[in-house]
Symmetry: C2
Subunit: 203 residues, 2 copies
DNA sequence: CGGTCATTTGAGAAGCCTCAATATTAGTGG
DNA sequence: CCACTAATATTGAGGCTTCTCAAATGACCG
């Protein structure tokens, strides 16, 4: 029922929009990007998934994947057959509850970043979000690697890549963070939290 | 297990952020606004729920409501005890699947509007979204009432109320829509769809 | 070392927000 | 039924943020 799959390498598709849905997957290692292509063929980044997080949950409804998922670096997954875990959940109320909770948690996660409408606020919220998510999985909260490109970050945060670059530089100049390529060090997380009007207390 | 509750009147709270979660609810009539208050006490509108839609799904995880819900007009609900429907789902695989599907569908709904970053695109996407949702429930797709205020729409769409007003006026001047107070008539839905880069084919 | 891609930087234009004032609507009490 | 009030909505002007376009720099790979 649970298969260890991978490694996927940077650029490999894990699933594509429109493919029939049969399994959700937990990221064991690496970073996954989910995205859709809009009517003009432009990419719209929906999110990034870190180790410990589950992808494919939005595909249960409609029984097809509504988005694409690609590996941003070397990715290992636990593939979980949905029909089978679903059947098992019928007999194990604890598992069922776990699945309900997992799905519920996923609802409205995107809203966090959407809330703030200054670019600096969105970037601050994004960095804190990644930080919290790494921390929860036992990685360092104040020093981490943003596997994705600036363009992908900007796309996700709905700003031009140039703006993303400038915002990061400004934060770096103010010594709120340190940036070395795609590696980020949070020097003053408190100040970041102040910038992100919507500080997320839940994660 | 299912209680018909209401009527709630405009401004009445259905639940408040932080309250213990015990039930989801289907809207039978009226319009519900869900929102959170950020650290500065500003309201952040998360969404609007129409008849036939379910609220409270994001509260399963954490067992407390993570947001507020208020009635925007006269609202009637079907209140569904979550522990009980959950228990029932264990014995009825069809019901369980239905719940999984419901939760899955809710994931990433907010992302649709977030995608476009011109104010006009977001407004167009919003109007089409409401239209589709009314249509799916058997109401008119091209003529409907936006129960909420301009300020609430603007807040939801992350723009200033003045901008929302101007965008609606522009669309009205171009005869893409007709606006009479809070009543909207879609005169040229095709043109709206073109404006909303991310036209949602799924709903 | 050369080529490709990602990133940064600069300058100008466009979009949107803010502030302020006016207009409209709905509700209230005389 | 008609002021009167409060809330909502619209409109205008100016300024700031962010985007676009263009070019230069830097990182990575064969």
């Amino acid at each position: 029922m649970v298969d260890h799959v991978g490694p996927y390498h940077a650029g490999d598709y894990i699933f594509r929009a429109g493919e029939p849905f049969d399994a959700i997957a937990a990221v064991r290692a690496g970073m996954v990007k989910t995205f859709v292509d809009d009517s003009l063929g432009n990419e719209q980044v929906l999110g990034f998934s870190l180790p410990g997080e589950v992808i494919g949950l939005n595909a249960i409804h409609g029984s097809r994947y509504p988005c694409n998922a690609v590996a941003l670096d070397t990715v290992h997954l636990c593939r979980i057959s949905f029909p089978r875990i679903s059947m098992l959940a019928s007999r194990m109320p604890g598992l069922q509850a776990k699945l309900f909770s997992l799905l519920s948690a996923e609802i409205g996660k995107a809203a966090l970043l959407a809330a703030n409408y200054r670019t600096e606020e969105r970037m601050a919220a994004f960095l804190l979000d990644i930080s919290n998510r790494y921390a929860r999985r036992g990685f360092s909260a104040h020093r981490f690697n943003l596997t994705m490109t600036r363009t992908e970050i900007a796309n996700y945060l709905r700003m031009a890549p140039e703006t993303a670059s400038r915002v990061l530089r400004r934060l770096s100049d103010e010594e709120v963070i340190a940036v070395k390529q795609r590696e980020i060090i949070l020097l003053q997380p408190e100040r970041l939290a102040l910038m992100a009007a919507t500080d997320d207390a839940s994660e």
